[in-house]
Symmetry: C2
Subunit: 344 residues, 2 copies
């Protein structure tokens, strides 16, 4: 019998927990009802979770509920979390990987605390200089992995090289048929552009570029993130966070204005009847819930952070992401990439 | 008689010069045909410019053509430009401010060379630590000024404070009825977020905040650039450039996908008939040509850089921007802001 994919879920994290998290579990179990290759270990107040499981009619027999008393609040500081959080659903959810029970942990709770306690419990992979937060981002040809999205506000060239190895391993685990094409985010594509750190990282990545692990494509500018020329985009956490949020803000601005334009008068309202299905597909493609889930890479076990304000569909997508990451053997891919990097 | 607003234009810079630059001049003269408060000093090969002026039927008698032999090529390096460019249309266009003839200079040519020779000819204002490239960016309530967009890849807190003074002076000259609300771009709005440089700049700006020059609003994240909560957004040139280009790329991705959705089948094509005028207005609002022109601030005279690949409409908008900047007394606003900063 093959070992089942075991996902540890913090049911109590996020703005709408545990309603939205358990409803997300329900959507996941429905979607995968013909599969029995997974187990969900759900951490939280057992009584409340049982109640929600009945409310949302979660039918799966592939669920374990593990009772935990504490909840990490949004106000908890990363500095005091190590002392204060040991009895929480978040802590136990991460710790489930150490017991060997789970392959991956998922939480929609306090980001700062999640990063700190994940790092403390799972510890960094020996060969990695810094862990990074990676995200999925749509592009014209499919999907990008972008990292770091905010775990490290300042990075040196070694960090960026590590991010390239971690990011391409993630890409390979999620999209096994495609080749990871790595680029460094810069303010020009010429070799002379950017900081000394970027120039050094670029020349090191050029030497590591090969057909097995990743192809290094050089520098790209912000307008090429979504063009599909690369699919693993590496940057420091400050720039990555600003780029991600700027893209979100721009998308929101445009769709809001489009909606306003299409409903401002009677004639334009008629157009919606005719374009309903096309606009629906358009909206679906850009739906941020589909890209919900940032992956914390570089530790001895993967941790996925769901957006705190997401709904059940968003949370479903982050459970799905966990499933795919484990199925794609992320940790083996990372090990293979790091071996390649150190021998390069 | 009031002194006329005199704009020095490099007619030979940009991908489509001098056709698009002269056609842009034509659009400007047509738009302002009832005004006689401006003069355009046009620099370039006189013979060719005369030919284009006839071709595009530029009627204005408010134009001077100044013959120049050389053209700065796109391949010219900023390092050798000072030696090589003295007989070019770009050099003479900037230098026209030193002769006291022009109030502002405009070019669509090689950005790196433009920044270097502008700085060399016009020199930095004594009280400014570094000059910056500022741009206009639409937001939900109107327009933002964002700087630096790429002149300085690394900045200290003094540079950021100077950018706040320069940016709010620019905002006041363009939108005299609104109050400049300054924010620093960061990866969180809490005071503990970001680099030490950002934290120091923030506490200095807090002390300078007042009702006359600008109100300091604290940190904002990338998704708030277009929300309209602030209208002067300050960041280092690396982050600003990545944010600007990411926003451009996102807008392009969305509108391309929208267009595809609305034309993919017969039914959705019908919708375009009903939404034609609404979509046209939508497209117009987002038209990047309307925001064409980055303003180089911090020198003893303003220089506007038009996008190299723009068309005549884009170039018209950058001439219009020059006109408004001078009419709004940018240099006086900058002087007043810097006096306030140094006494603060």
């Amino acid at each position: 019998m093959m070992k089942k994919i075991t996902i540890a879920i913090d049911a109590m994290g996020g703005d709408n927990a545990p309603d939205k998290t358990i409803e997300g579990v329900k959507l996941f179990c429905d979607k995968y009802k013909n599969k029995d290759d997974f187990i969900l270990n759900i951490f939280g107040k057992e009584e409340i979770i049982q109640e929600k499981i009945i409310k949302y009619r979660v039918k799966s027999n592939l669920i374990n509920i593990i009772n935990t008393e504490g909840i990490v609040s949004n106000e908890e500081s990363p500095l005091t979390a190590i002392k204060n959080s040991k009895n929480t659903s978040m802590w136990k959810c991460i710790n489930d990987q150490i017991n060997g029970t789970s392959d991956i942990s998922l939480s929609a709770g306090n980001t700062g605390v999640l990063l700190v306690i994940s790092r403390m419990i799972l510890k960094m992979i020996d060969q990695v200089s810094k862990p990074a937060l990676a995200g999925l981002w749509p592009n014209e040809k499919g999907m990008n992995v972008v990292l770091d999205l905010g775990a490290n506000i300042e990075c040196n060239d070694q960090n960026l090289v590590d991010f390239a190895e971690l990011g391409s391993a993630l890409f390979k685990s999620l999209f096994p048929k495609e080749k990871p094409k790595v680029s460094l985010l810069n303010i020009g594509s010429e070799e002379i552009k950017g900081t000394e750190i970027l120039k050094t990282a670029s020349s090191r990545l050029k030497k590591l570029s090969d057909n097995d692990n990743f192809i290094y494509e050089g520098f790209i500018e912000g307008n090429e993130i979504m063009s599909g020329t690369s699919n693993v985009i590496v940057t420091d956490g400050f720039t990555g966070n600003v780029a991600l949020k700027t893209a979100e803000g721009t998308a929101k601005f445009i769709t809001k204005y489009l909606k306003k334009s299409l409903t401002e008068n009677f004639i334009s309202k008629i157009s919606i009847i005719f374009s309903y299905f096309s606009l629906k597909k358009f909206k679906e493609r850009l739906d941020p819930r589909k890209y919900n889930g940032a992956i914390f890479l570089g530790l001895n076990g993967p941790v996925v952070k769901s957006h705190g304000g997401t709904d059940s569909t968003g949370f479903y997508h982050s459970i799905d992401l966990c499933y795919k990451i484990v199925k794609g053997n992320l940790m083996t891919q990372i090990k293979s990439n790091l071996d390649h990097s150190k021998s390069g």
